[in-house]
């Protein structure tokens, strides 16, 4: 049972169309996300799910459509602006900073909150040092939460895949986001790792009230933890509703299982 009731619409995607040259990645997609909910985006491979997240994040610019975040409407998002507004994300292919340790990777997520300037950082006196320590404390809380204390000084490139995914999540959490976009956070994990990750996602949603938009392939996970689901196929929206509604939608079934002729 959720601690917080679902709030108003926090993110509204309207009529987004995105194409690369002749390839139409997204066609006229509209859906909304309510505050504190867990919204899943599902669909076969190539349906455009990651592209949708990339549009929200400002990595891609859609040709048509708008995105409204907390009442402000944008035709195209600027990555930095989006981050400042409190949207964080993880990546399907783990865009971690391979040359840095786990601690540094997660600390890099705090950079928007750093106030000291270049000179103060160079001298590393008083306020600059205090700020480093404050952020370190925050990051250590996240490391605790994700149970990766033993690896904090390890270069991320040396960690196994499952742990790297946790670091990716940690870096997104370090931004103290209001909306968390997770791109296949459980890909490539075994049952236990998936359970751990589910637990993290639910805890984040419960304790911090973070709204979660989640791309996932594992139907069991999706049906279990999400409040509402959007289904994409070939760049078009073919389903939108609660997990039960979507499960029984004939179009969705045929997209996944194929139809008999």
């Amino acid at each position: 049972m959720k601690q917080r009731p679902l709030g108003d619409v926090i993110l509204d995607v309207q009529n987004i169309s995105l194409s690369f040259g002749g390839v139409k990645a997204l066609t006229d997609i509209s859906f909304n996300v309510r505050e504190h909910e867990i919204r899943a985006i599902i669909g076969p491979n190539g349906a455009g799910k990651s592209s949708m997240l990339n549009c929200i994040n400002g990595v891609y610019t859609p040709q048509h459509g708008t995105i409204t975040f907390r009442g402000q409407t944008f035709h195209h998002m600027n990555s930095r602006q989006v981050a400042e507004m409190g949207v964080a994300r993880t990546f399907q292919n783990l865009a971690l900073f391979k040359g840095m340790s786990v601690l540094d990777n997660i600390m890099s997520g705090r950079n928007l909150k750093i106030r000291s300037n270049l000179l103060m950082q160079a001298l590393r006196i008083g306020p600059a040092e205090q700020e480093e320590i404050r952020h370190r404390e925050q990051v250590e809380r996240i490391i605790d939460f994700l149970e990766i204390q033993a690896h904090r000084k390890t270069p991320v490139g040396q960690l196994p895949y499952g742990l790297q995914k946790r670091v990716d999540l940690g870096r997104a959490l370090a931004m103290e986001p209001q909306v968390l976009l997770l791109d296949e956070p459980m890909a490539g994990m075994n049952v236990e790792e998936k359970q751990d990750m589910c637990r993290f996602v639910l805890d984040i949603n419960d304790e911090f009230g973070t709204t979660v938009v989640l791309i996932e392939h594992d139907m069991g996970v999706v049906m279990d933890i999400s409040d509402r689901v959007v289904v994409l196929d070939y760049g078009k929206k073919i389903g939108d509703g609660t997990p039960d509604e979507v499960r029984n939608n004939p179009e969705v079934i045929s997209a996944y299982l194929g139809t008999s002729h």
């Binding site: 989006v82 964080a88 391979k98 600390m107 890099s108 270049l118 590393r124 600059a128």
Partner: protein, 358 residues
Amino acid sequence: MFYRENGQFKTSYKADQQIFPIAQDRWIIVALIVFAFAGVPLLASDYMFRAILIPFLIFSLAAVGVNILVGYCGQISLGSGAFMAVGAYGAYNAFVRIPDMPLIPALIVGGLCATAFGILFGLPSLRVKGLYLAVATLAAQFFSDWMFLRIKWFTNDSPSGSVSVSNLQVFGLDIENPLSKYLFCLGILVVVALLAKNLVRGAIGREWMAIRDMDVAAAVIGIRPMYAKLSAFAVSSFIVGVAGALWGFIYLGSWEPAAFSVDQSFKLLFMVIIGGMGSIMGSFFGAAFIVVLPILLNQLLPLMGELVGLEISTAGISHAELMIFGALIVWFLIVEPHGLAKLWSIGKQKLRLWPFPH
């Protein structure tokens, strides 16, 4: 046995984040610095100062600057020679044209000129990377070559095209003999290296490394690529500019534009590669290597030649130098792309366990 960290528990984040967390390291560094300031002057000859130590100090400084740009921020630069030149001529003009200009402010002015130049020629980094960026930095190099050769104002309308400085003083003390030059450079190096280390282990350092490792992801967590890249160019060229000014003022005394040609740029890049990219300490290793190697070869090769009955001319030595440089670059890139610094830290790891094998 000697290098164990047993009992060194950190009870505060401040302690955990310091530059040398292991106590033995701290003692060694302090001892090294004390030796550099007090011991070396007693032991080194004038030749050692002039031929080895002073170039080592100045190149270390420049290598730190280049490492920040290339190693930490991942922006390839083949224009470091130009930044040194701008620093040198900037400092020269400040020194010569402004009456009673003291030395250190003149050096800083040189550094600031290099910063402006660096930011200007760093703008292409916002559009391109890798080889393409290297070409853009080469544009800076050749443009600077031309600028200081053809625009007479920079060289104070000197008829021969070369400039010179003399009567250098700091706080009333002359720095004309090799010992005082050495101490001056050492002081500047220690201060700048400390500031640089603070930068790279702080927030801006993480931004630089994030841009280096994956700039799209960096943008998504809110890092502004423009600010990060240009700040790397700015800080790097400031340091390299000051090093260039020191090179001209302290080491050469009088110089012409050819002193800062594209060969210098390559040299600095090699120092960073061999020493270790993304490592302040590596910059020192690389500089030491590049400074000492030619001298070593100069002594060793004729000896080895005698053993085999070959006579090796000075030209032969310089050709051999080229070959050995090239081979070493390739060898390092294949075997240990993280350079001497990585070998050093592997060595330390083994030392921590010694005498146990694992």
